[in-house]
């Protein structure tokens, strides 16, 4: 049900890191294309982006990254929702910085949530998903109320 970092090992972390190291550079290199696609397919095409190919490859890589993490940790909700939004609010919508920034913020968020989950009722270890939900649900409600008209 609730994912946790309790069963992690250096071996598993290594596999995830390797997959990330292969996929993330492609997405960062394609940042300009992803920026252009944010302005609509027509605009992106007119700026020379091969929209269909970029979209399919990005989706496959993103699915691969997500799946490989989930299969070792189980589902830990809200990190993927909160991290990119916080990053976007701070540094804006340029994917050249947004993609690595979101990865960093997401990692810090999970680390913080896991640390809290392990210490708050020590020696009982709470599932980390509960901690991320504490942050994520109010944030989600806030986004829903405040930023409904802004795109993404």
């Amino acid at each position: 049900m609730m994912g946790s970092l309790g069963k992690s090992s250096w071996e598993k972390a290594g596999i995830i890191s390797a997959i990330l190291a292969v996929c993330l550079p492609y997405l960062i290199i394609k940042s300009w294309d992803i920026n252009a696609m944010g302005a609509g397919d027509e605009t992106a095409k007119s700026l020379g982006v091969n929209v269909e190919r970029t979209r399919v490859i990005s989706m496959v890589l993103v699915s691969l990254i997500t799946a490989s993490i989930i299969c070792f940790t189980g589902t830990i909700g809200f990190v993927g929702l909160v991290a990119p939004h916080i990053t976007r609010m701070v540094i804006g919508g340029d994917h050249r910085f947004l993609l690595p920034g979101s990865a960093l913020v997401g990692a810090l968020l999970l680390l913080g949530a896991d640390t809290l989950a392990r210490t708050i009722l020590a020696p009982v270890i709470l599932p980390v998903g509960i901690m991320t939900s504490f942050l994520g649900v109010p944030f989600f409600v806030y986004l829903f109320m405040k930023r409904r008209k802004v795109f993404w």
């Binding site: 302005a39 609509g40 007119s46 795109f151």
Partner: protein, 260 residues
Amino acid sequence: MVNITIKSLTFGYNGSMILDNLNLVVEDSEVLGLVGPNGSGKTTLIKCMDKILKPKGSILIDGRDIDTVSRTELAKRLGYVPQSSSTPLATTVFDTVLMGRRPHISWRVSDSDLDKVADILGLLHLEYLAMRDFSQLSGGQKQKVLIARALAQEPEVLLLDEPTSSLDMKHQLEVMETISSLVKEKKISAVMALHDLNLASMFVDKLAILKGGKIYAAGEPIDLLNAKNIRDVYGVEAVVMNNLDRPYIVPLRSLNEGVA
């Protein structure tokens, strides 16, 4: 110096024809206006020219079929300016224009790219808007920013889709003046879909009238803008007057067959 030749272009959605065996030539350093009623294929033609839509038939740019030219290569030669109202952008004006450098850069933005963007903003008198959010601009400002973005591609041909729609009188003139002075200064061509025949009459070198996906007539505005053509193409009775040696059209009433 560029030549675009369009040969027997045909395009349709689900059986309904939008472009029907259309032929057209765009030559050096001219402003070509595409006019015609709603649904006559103006916008579709422009999108086909920029490979946004894939039609049947061929479009040759300097003798090369655009199907054999990569998108990036094409983006260095043709700059597309969409209608401002249909463009969502959540970024600053400077970054919007910088996006136009995309065909020339891979990831890193060099100082010369930034200089070029700054120059173009200066050329269109948009410096004071550089750090504003695109979404907060007025219609006229948005249109100019989108023209600036297309210019950042350093194209030989600008393709504009109704650049004056939803603008007031002054901004319509400003945008058209901007385009025609750019064409002269930078020795580029412009192809634009237009609704306002009087704006077309004032600013275009050549006119192509579209009707039902075909070129009804092409040539100088002064030869084409007459009461007969307007009746045949638009179904509107109009008086054509002379304004500074340019035809000036005053529409009188629509001619609905079957209505007394």
